[in-house]
Every structure is written in C-alpha cells, then in structure tokens.
C-alpha cells in the first residue's frame, strides 16, 4: 500500500520543494523586472536613518554632503555651502530639483525639520552637529553652531544626518527620503524590500526592485551567494575568497577600509612615558606577518592612522620589524641588556596588554607581540576584556592595548585627532597630552581653509608618528563577492553607499 503511493509522494514533495527555489528574478512572468538581492553583515533593527545606516546604504535616504571614492567631500542634496564667520554660521543652498519619494518638494524648511528631528532622537548627532539654531528661506538654510566648527560639512557626511520627510509617520519602518529607491516593506532584522523611485532627481535607477537582507554569519553569506539567494554579498568568509575568485560566475572586489588596527600605549605608565620604549615596541610589531597571516592577506600594512590616499596623510617613515633595533631602543631607554634579555634594575620587564574578542584578529595580534617580546625576556600578560573602552577609561592598571577604529569616517582628520589626542577625548585613555600636538589640533579646529587644514593635519600626524603615541598596524580590507550578472557595482571605501542608481543586472 505504502509502496504504491511512495513514488508519487516523493515526486510531489520534490515539486513542492523545487517550487520554493529562490530563482524568482523573472517573477510575475515579466522579464523586464530587474532586481537584485544584497546580503550584508550589518544587522538592522530599525530603518530610521537617524539611528541606523541602512536607509542610506540602500539608497532610500541621502545626506546633504557625501564623501566620494577619491576621499573628497562633495555636494549631494546641498548644492553648495559657505561660511561667513570662520565656521560659526553656515549657509547651505539646497538643490532645487529634488522631491521626496512622496512627491513633496525638498526645500530648506524640510531639511531644517529633518535636522531638528535628527538632534532630537540621536544624542550622538546632537553632539556632533552642535547646532544652536537654524533658519530656512526657500532653498537657503542657515545653520548657526554653538561654537565654530570649520569641519561642519564633513559632519554632514554621516549617514545619521540623512534627510527625510519629518512629517511622515512610521519613520522606523518606512522613512521617506530623496534617494533612487523607496521602501516597499521592512522586516526588522530580516529584510528590506525596495522599489525604484521613478522621479529621482539624478535620473531613474536601472534596477526596478532590490532586496537588502542581513546575515551575521560569514559562511552563511557565502553559501547564499553560491545558492543564488543573494547577488551581492558583503564580507563573505575570508577563507572562501580564494574559491570564490576561481568561480567564473562570481566576481570579487577588495578595497582597504578607513579602519585601522593599532597598539595603544598608556603614557601614564612610567616605562611607556619613554619614547624609546614605545619605539622599541613598534619595532616588535611584524606588520607584514599580521597582514598576511592574522588577516589572511585581507589587510594593508599601516604606517600611520590614515590611508595614504587621504590629502592629510604625510609621508611616513616605513616601519620595520627588527628585534635588534627594539633592543637598541630599550638600551637607549636606560634598560640593561644581559644575554639578549632586557632588564630594568636587574629585573625582567613585564607589561599588561588589554584586548577584546569582538574583533578576533586583535587577540591574535596581541599574542604575536607577546611572542616577539618574549625573545627579549619581556613578559606580556594578555587580558581579554569585555568592554575595552570602559576598562581603559576606569582603570589605570594596563600598559598596552590592541584596539581598532575607523580613523577618518567622513574624509576629515579632525574626528580621530580630537578624540584620540586631546585631553578628555573619548578615545584617549592613555592620557596623551602633548603641548605641540594639542596646539596643532586646536589650530586645526579653528581653521577653515581646506588646504591649510590638510597641512595642519599632516603636521599633527607627523608629530604622532615621531612620538609613537600609537603604533598603527594594519588597515583591514573591505571585501565583497557578487554574481557575474551584476553590473556597475563597486565596493565603497566608506561603506556608506551600497545601492546606487547605476547598479544594474544583465538579465
């Protein structure tokens, strides 16, 4: 009896399963529907652009100013901007031909309302923008800040300053922006479905539809690309990159990111106050090895905090890995050398190094340094902490720390310089307080002229390099893989702009 029905049952089951296969690109029998699925590792619980980057990444919302691939700031929804009093008052001219996805015209009043909501819901943006008052008149928006902010336009590159129609409801799930795609549906943490906005000010997008999905597991992302469930996959697993490169139906794209992995020194520590000790540690870092083995080749060695392509990056001295030179610097620092071991007052040296597991490569870098230091008889005790920022801010019992941050998120050096080298900066737990450096950064904070700003930033970075306040190790790469059918897509260095009007598919 069972045998009699087993074959049709199996066929029926197979048919059912096949019907759910994800090859739905020709849905509705309409071959003209061009769509793609983008799979990223950025989870998104809200689509509110003032709290999350997804809406900007997906081309729903846009900012007044953007950063291009040459790492320069350029106009976006703002056509131009000027300041009359060295960065205290800013006048933005808003583009005239822009409409929101609900058909409403974008004018200065709408931008003002959006920025007002922005500083109301986001403490971070309230702090960054530091706006005192705004006045809208037609397409002209006047912004007065609480204190002069010469880098104010670069703050407006931040995706959380995206412009939306603040009069609309349901901003968390359906923000109305000015981008080439509008939200069709959003399921928090799951997917965002997009439809083309035909009246987009810079020209209609090539895709009719797109889906943004999220998955934190790198292996699952790789498999989704291979199964055809996704067309573009952000950060597939590092180990799969080689096999993906060999697959003719898949393309890969790699670009150095704005992120830098670095070694922090607690300059309050008696030993680490000494420049020679910091230089000695710098010589103990094998940057090539970190890039090739710890980062599996997906990183560029870092000579300083910023990528070399930035206009404010000075020409650094090439950093070397040399045990001998490290020994020499320990000697210069006043330590004794005995049988190749470094001693202080006849006793071996020991340091406490903090690291954290959120970026798994950081504990590995710590172990590499520990092993190199051991050759000189130096003990490095590694402590993995849950929250490194809080630990370093509250306790002083640490000497070194492996750390990671995006040093120039918006194409300007001031964020990193202010936060990491000014007294009281949120990422200055080692209490770096150098008179010369502080005055350079203070001058930078008052300077408006772009060329002059770049010059000052270069000088500040040279000072940091000379004094080895930090040892910069590598710039990890951003990498993505995508189907051969995808056209005009390029990995953005900033990670801010993923879906643009130009992205297309062959079908």
């Amino acid at each position: 009896m069972l045998k009699k029905y087993s074959l049709p049952l199996i066929l029926l089951l197979s048919l059912g399963l096949s019907a759910c296969s994800s090859n739905a690109k020709e849905d509705d029998g309409n071959p003209k529907v061009k769509e793609l699925t983008f799979l990223s590792n950025f989870p998104s619980e809200t689509l509110d652009p003032h709290l999350n980057y997804t809406a900007v990444r997906a081309g729903v919302n846009e900012t007044l100013v953007k950063i291009n691939e040459e790492m320069e700031i350029e106009p976006w929804l703002a056509e131009s901007w000027t300041t009359t009093d060295k960065g205290h008052t800013w006048n933005f001219k808003i583009r005239n031909n822009v409409t929101f996805q609900n058909g409403e015209k974008l004018d200065a009043e709408a931008v003002k309302k959006s920025l007002e909501r922005n500083i109301e819901v986001s403490e971070a943006m309230k702090t960054a923008l530091n706006i005192k008052e705004m006045k809208a008149d037609g397409q002209q928006l006047k912004i007065v800040t609480n204190e002069p902010l010469p880098h104010f336009p670069s703050e407006l590159v931040h995706p959380n300053t995206a412009i939306l129609d603040a009069d609309e409801k349901d901003i968390e799930e359906k923000p109305v922006g000015t981008g080439p795609f509008k939200t069709a549906s959003f399921s928090p943490g799951n997917k965002l479905e997009l439809e083309r906005y035909d009246a987009y000010w810079a020209g209609k997008a090539k895709l009719s539809k797109a889906t943004f999905t999220f998955n934190e597991d790198a292996n699952a992302r790789t498999l989704a690309l291979q199964s055809g469930d996704a067309d573009i996959v952000y950060r597939p697993s590092i180990e799969s990159m080689e096999s993906l490169k060999n697959d003719s139906s898949i393309k890969t794209d790699i670009a150095p990111s704005f992120r830098t992995h670095l070694l922090m020194y607690n300059t309050k520590d008696e030993n680490l106050k000494n420049l020679h000790v910091r230089k000695a540690f710098d010589y103990l870092i094998d940057r090539e090895e970190v890039a090739s083995s710890v980062m599996a080749g997906q990183a560029e060695r870092a000579e300083g905090p910023f990528l070399s392509a930035f206009p404010f990056t000075p020409s650094y001295d090439k950093k070397e890995f040399s045990i001998e030179k490290a020994m020499k610097h320990f000697e210069h620092a006043g330590f004794q050398l005995k049988n190749g071991k470094v001693l202080k007052n006849g006793k071996p040296l020991s340091f406490k190094l903090l690291t954290y597991s959120y970026r798994p490569e950081l504990p590995l870098m710590a172990q590499m340094l520990q092993s190199e230091a051991k050759q000189l008889g130096i003990t490095i005790e590694i402590q993995q902490v849950e929250n490194i920022d809080e630990y370093m801010a509250k306790k002083e019992d640490w000497d070194l720390a492996t750390y990671s941050l995006i040093t120039s998120p918006r194409g300007d050096a001031s964020f990193f310089l202010n936060t990491a080298y000014m007294e009281g900066g949120a990422i200055n737990p080692g209490s770096i307080n150098n008179q010369e450096l502080t005055s350079k950064i203070t001058e930078l904070n008052r300077t408006l002229n772009e060329e002059q700003r770049n010059k000052l930033a270069k000088e500040a970075v040279s000072l940091i390099d000379k004094n080895r306040f930090h040892s910069f190790i590598v710039h990890p790469n951003n990498f993505a893989a995508y189907s051969d059918d995808v056209l005009n897509w390029k990995l953005s260095k900033s990670e801010y702009y993923i879906l643009t009007k130009d992205v297309d598919v062959k079908k």
Partner: protein, 312 residues
C-alpha cells in the same frame, strides 16, 4: 482557587526577584550604554559629554534608585524604550516573539516526528540492528554542533539542489531548514529518553496486569506503556521549550531568521539594557507558565499523581 492564588503570588514574587537580580547583574557587568548611544567610534566625543549624558539618563544614581525607577515604570506595564531603536521594549519583543515561537513549535514538531517513532521502535526491538542504528543516530545528533549541521543543510538543500531558501523568513519553506536543524539536534536526546522510559514502563506490574486482563498489545502499548513513559518526556519537553526559546539564537543568526534571540544578542552587544531586561522577564514569565501547565498535565498523564493530590 486557593491553589491558584498561591501560584499567582509565587509568580509575582518570582518575577520581582528575577527582575531585581537581572537588573543588578546588568548594571554591575562591564559595558556602558552611553558610549553606544553617543556612538564614540564614529563621533568625536569628550569624556565630559559622556559623563554629562550618564548623569542625564540617571546612570550615575545608586543601583536601588535606578531599580526603583524601573519598577515604578514596570508596574504601569512600561518596560521603557530601546536605546537602539527608540521604540517601546514591549513592542519590540512582541514583534519578534511570534517568529521565535513559530520556529520553536516547528522544531518541537520536527523533533517529535523523528524521536517518537525511532525511540519507540528502538525500545520495541531492543538490542537488534534497528536499536543500534537509532542509538547511533542519538549519538550523532547529540555530538554534532547545530550551526555545523545548519551549514551542511544549506550546502545540500540550497546550494546543491536549490530546493530550499538558505535564509530569511516568509514562507513555510523558509522554516524547514532551521526547524530541521534544531529538531534533529533535540531529537537525539528524546530518542534515548523515550527508549529507556518505554523499556522501564514495559517492565512494570501494571503492564503485566493489563496483559493478564487480556488487553490487546496495541491498547497496552498506547494507553498504558506509552502514556506512562510520557511523564519524563513531557518534563524534558518543558525544559526544552524554555531553552529553545532562549537558545535558538545561533540558528536564527545562521538562517538570518528574525527572532527574539537575534534581537537580544544585538541588544547585549550594544548594552541596550531595557531590551535585555524586558527579554529576561518575558522569558521568565513564559517558562514559569509552561512549567505550571506541565505540572497540571502530570495529573492527567499519571493517575498516581492525581490520587496522591486527592489524598493530601
């Protein structure tokens, strides 16, 4: 009625105690939500501003004061707003809970349809090749990590055959792979439990008595032996339901399934205390209710329990 009100009292006390312990642990654990709220990785912020905001949000108040404020809100059924999304915690949890419950229930269903037949056959054909194969299955299921099994299923059913979607939620097909992954991992334990429990039941006096009364084998098996062996199985079922609700997170992440586990992991990473606290209370309440229902079920599954209760 008296029993019900005493149970309700116990529940209220339990929730209060749970809320205080979880609140205290969260506050004492490392991690400062203000640093996440101010996005210090991306925005130039001074320590002064961090302290200012901490003061504004009451994070510098003594623990008891902070808990008291939270409790006053909680009494009004307000769990506060999420730091991440600025949305009410209750809404966030209610939005995610159905997806996790659906996955949990489907996994338990998958587990049942795998474990019951295998466990039963294994007991009925003790020490035969069927028994050996089922024990091998139990060993395999218990030792294979679920994320690995999940990746294997994706590779097979999504990449190789293209039959099932590798991630997401929306259709029944989306549920198959995550439920199968969780169900197989759980079934292994139940197969063993069901087998040993059935073997024990089949050797009991009441089975011999039933046989002596001339009942059919089928009736003896289903209405006597199987029913009797369900007590430990149902107990484990209750524990599984609680741990499944809280433990589906790996599978939710792997299959990009938008359940409550994923939300909470994100909340823990970003120190979104209101979400974490709300989740703990939700789960505490849910598990307590399930366990109470299981206690009630014993009275129907095992007449001995009912009789003892009647005597007392």
């Amino acid at each position: 009625m008296k029993r019900f009100s005493s149970r309700l009292m116990e529940l209220v006390l339990f929730i209060l105690l749970l809320s205080f312990i979880s609140f205290a642990f969260m506050k004492l654990a490392p991690g400062d939500p203000v640093r996440y709220i101010l996005n210090i990785d991306d925005v130039a912020v001074s320590e002064e501003r961090i302290n200012e905001l901490r003061e504004e949000l009451g994070f510098n108040d003594p623990l008891v004061i902070q808990y008291g404020k939270w409790l006053l809100q909680f009494i009004k059924l307000d769990l506060g707003n999420s730091h991440m999304t600025k949305q009410p915690v209750i809404e966030e949890l209610i939005e995610k809970l159905p997806a996790t419950i659906l996955l949990t229930v489907t996994s338990l269903f998958v587990m049942t349809i795998i474990a019951v037949p295998i466990g039963t056959i294994s007991a009925l054909y003790k020490n035969t090749w069927i028994d050996h194969v089922s024990r091998m299955f139990a060993l395999f299921g218990a030792s294979v990590p679920s994320f690995w099994l999940g990746l294997l299923f994706i590779q097979l059913f999504s990449v190789k055959f293209g039959w099932l979607p590798s991630m997401g939620m929306g259709t029944i097909q989306h549920l198959i792979l995550p439920a199968l992954t969780l169900g197989i991992a759980m079934a292994a334990v139940y197969v063993r439990l069901l087998r040993s429990s059935l073997l024990e039941s089949l050797g009991q006096d009441f089975i011999r008595a039933a046989k002596a009364r001339g009942l059919s084998n089928g009736r003896i098996f289903f209405f006597h032996a199987f029913r009797h062996c369900l007590v430990p199985v149902i107990t484990l079922f209750g524990v599984s339901l609680g741990s499944l609700l809280g433990g589906t997170v790996i599978i939710e992440v792997l299959f990009s399934y938008p359940g409550i586990g994923k939300l909470v992991v994100e909340a823990i990473v970003r120190r979104d205390f209101p979400i974490i606290q709300g989740y703990i209370l939700f789960m505490g309440l849910f598990v307590t209710v399930i366990n109470s229902l299981i206690d009630v079920s014993y009275r129907y599954l095992n007449p001995e329990v009912r009789l003892k209760e009647g005597r007392s």
